[in-house]
């Protein structure tokens, strides 16, 4: 894995554990990956493979406890995010790294109007900007007092306070950016009054209005209908180029990944088993799990194509198999697979795979 300075985010040997009553399970096991500038990286895998945990760790929203980062680094623009305190991490959240969740109805606040919620996002951005410049000046005692005020106390549009016209224009611009047809009316609505697709657009507007460098999207279209999913994915891809951001897309749907991603990371049972450029992954998948996953997607008619399911089930992470975690389900299993753990190695230019069939 070539570590270059052009990477926005690089994760090294990240291990995340969950403590439960039945013991500790390793949800993410020594994961290393890079997210370059202005690229869309898709992480795919089945439920329980650790893809959402990985996404949450980047933005620092892991529920701790039970989750715990047991080791490794998350380097964002050459700053390791792992040892930061909650207060320090908050400076990154939103303005540097933003997040879109699966179900917009649970991530939007039901008792505030859409406009007020977007206003909050914009104001947080403005406050942080002035805070930074004031700290740089750092002369006037009054300014110091102002800058040390926490963001919560400066949180603005709570009780239907009138939005200033400038703020209003900014909110409308944010909604226009996500292609909402009548932004003036949407501002005055509550989240429950909007359709699923509109709500997800509002979430995207809030995330994008902060102009983040990295957007973590955890299953952003899973709760949406297909025609709405197509609209939202197209929007995300267009905005990625407009605001020059990178997207870390977590999805269970390989078809979605193939449609939008530049690079695909395949995860299985807490480990990365393959990293490849999207074209390489779909034309020449190397890891037996990636191959299996591709031949599991129904494409075509039953008369012409044969589906080849992967036998068995995803292993229990409380008690993972010794050696390669895919070995019990693997059609190419060898003796060594059940004894030793393979390493993620570069098999071809930019194509990494964790399997004894390829070097190791």
């Amino acid at each position: 894995m070539a570590s270059t300075n052009s990477n926005l985010l690089s994760i090294r040997d990240l291990t995340i554990e969950y403590a439960g009553s039945d013991g500790t399970l390793t949800a993410v096991d020594q994961v290393s990956l890079d997210v370059p500038q202005n690229k869309l990286i898709a992480v795919v895998g089945e439920s329980g493979c650790g893809k959402s945990t990985l996404g949450l760790s980047i933005i620092g929203l892991l529920p701790t406890p039970p989750a715990k980062i047991a080791g490794g680094k998350i380097n964002y623009k050459d700053i390791d995010l792992v040892p930061l305190t909650e207060k320090q991490r908050r400076e990154f959240r939103g303005t540097e790294i933003a997040m879109i969740f699966q179900e917009p109805l649970t991530s939007l606040n039901p008792v505030y109007k859409v406009g007020d919620q977007i206003a909050e996002a914009i104001l947080v951005r403005e406050i942080r900007r002035t805070k930074k410049s004031q700290l740089a000046a750092n002369t006037d005692i009054m300014q110091k007092t102002y800058s040390s005020r926490s963001i919560q106390t400066t949180r603005i549009p709570r009780f239907r306070r009138h939005l200033t016209s400038q703020l209003r224009t900014e909110i409308i611009d944010a909604l226009k950016l996500v292609r909402i047809a009548d932004p003036e009316q949407v501002i005055e609505r509550y989240p429950f009054e909007l359709s699923g697709g509109m709500r997800q657009r509002v979430m995207i507007a809030m995330a994008i209005s902060q102009k983040p460098s990295l957007l973590v999207a955890d299953e952003p279209t899973t709760a949406l209908d297909v025609t709405t999913q197509a609209q939202v994915l197209k929007l995300m891809k267009e905005l990625m180029d407009e605001v020059k951001t990178s997207i870390f897309l977590v999805t269970h749907d390989l078809a979605v990944a193939s449609q939008v991603a530049d690079q695909v990371i395949v995860m299985y049972a807490g480990e990365i088993v393959e990293i490849a450029n999207v074209y390489d992954l779909f034309s020449d998948p190397l890891h037996p799990y990636s191959k299996g996953l591709l031949s599991c997607i129904p494409a075509g008619y039953k008369e012409d194509t044969n589906l080849e399911p992967i036998p068995g089930n995803v292993p229990n992470l409380l008690n993972p198999p010794v050696g390669c975690r895919f070995a019990p389900r693997c059609p190419y299993v060898m003796k060594i697979c059940k004894e030793k753990k393979p390493k993620l190695v570069e098999s071809k230019q930019g194509h990494l795979v964790e399997c004894f069939l390829y070097g190791n």
Binding site: E46, S47, S195, G197, M198, D225, V226, T227, T228, Q229, A230, Q231, L233, K234, K237, H252, D253, L254, A255, V256, S258, Q259, V260, A261, V278, Y279, F282, G292, L293, L294, S295, C296, I297, P298, A299, G300, Y301, K302, T305, L307, E308, P309, I310, P311, N313, V314
Partner: protein, 337 residues
Amino acid sequence: METSAEIKSSSEDVILSTDNVSKFYPIRKSFLSRSPSRFVRAVDGVSIQLPRRKTTAVVGESGCGKTTLARTVTMLIPPTSGKIMFEGRDITDKKWQNWKELYRNVQMVFQDPDSSLDPRFKVKETVAEPLRGLVGAGGNEVRKQVEESLEAVGLSSEHSDRLPGQLSGGQKQRVAIARAIATKPKLVVLDEPTSALDASVQAQIIKLLLNLQKQYELSYMLITHNIAVAQYLSDQMAVMYTGNLVEYGPTRSVIEKPRHPYTITLIASAPIPNPWKRNLLNIEIKGEVPSAINPPSGCRFHPRCPYAEKICQEVNPPLEAVAPGHYVACHFVNKTA
């Protein structure tokens, strides 16, 4: 122009047909007001035929009425109006209604096995229940049939004493399928049978459903929002939009030559696992699915349709044949040829 009456056929090859079936749910302003002023028109005048030993997929987006249609044809929710003929008998006719006989022959598999399986019933008790209740079988007969059903869905005898909580998602769905086939039904209605499952398990269940269909000569009605699954499993495909059937025909014909503007949009927005064909990023789609409480007048798709003209706002088009067995409800079907 073919009307619903003409499409309706009494031929031997049809296991179930509906004639102009509607289901309206009343909305009362308060629980005191007696007469509801508005209705959710969940299913509105649907005529469909399910061919014997074949799979008919009903596809559409959430709120299009596909699940209500599935529950209506199985009489779990009796229709507001219209007839449902199962093997030549009208099952909505109150004079007939022999529920045991009906449910021996018509069974359902639901989306979420966690809610469709009783958490306190062991696997074997779950599968035995329809045999005892519907067939009136007992003792050895039940035991033998339970074993056969579990084996058919790929579960071994060690699973038969477990509770649903001790099984994986795929295994639970297998139990639900075993229960559905236990009484040797003729028609199985599958309501999103693979939507709650992971990709690798989904493929296992799809294969299982195909094998069972051959083994037991089953007819399937498959309700799904997943176009790829519908395309793979079905022989006939019906597309619904806000309670209306907008297109119906052989799967290959509907997928390759969709004629209703909504079907065209729907198929184009289904993501395909092919990075060289990025269909998703090239399509233009207007608006979102309208509410079924107050659907648009005339053709319900007209506010989103690129071909809409004045007539579309006024008249809801009937289904018309565009190819053998392929019907489309659109005023300007010539424009999409």
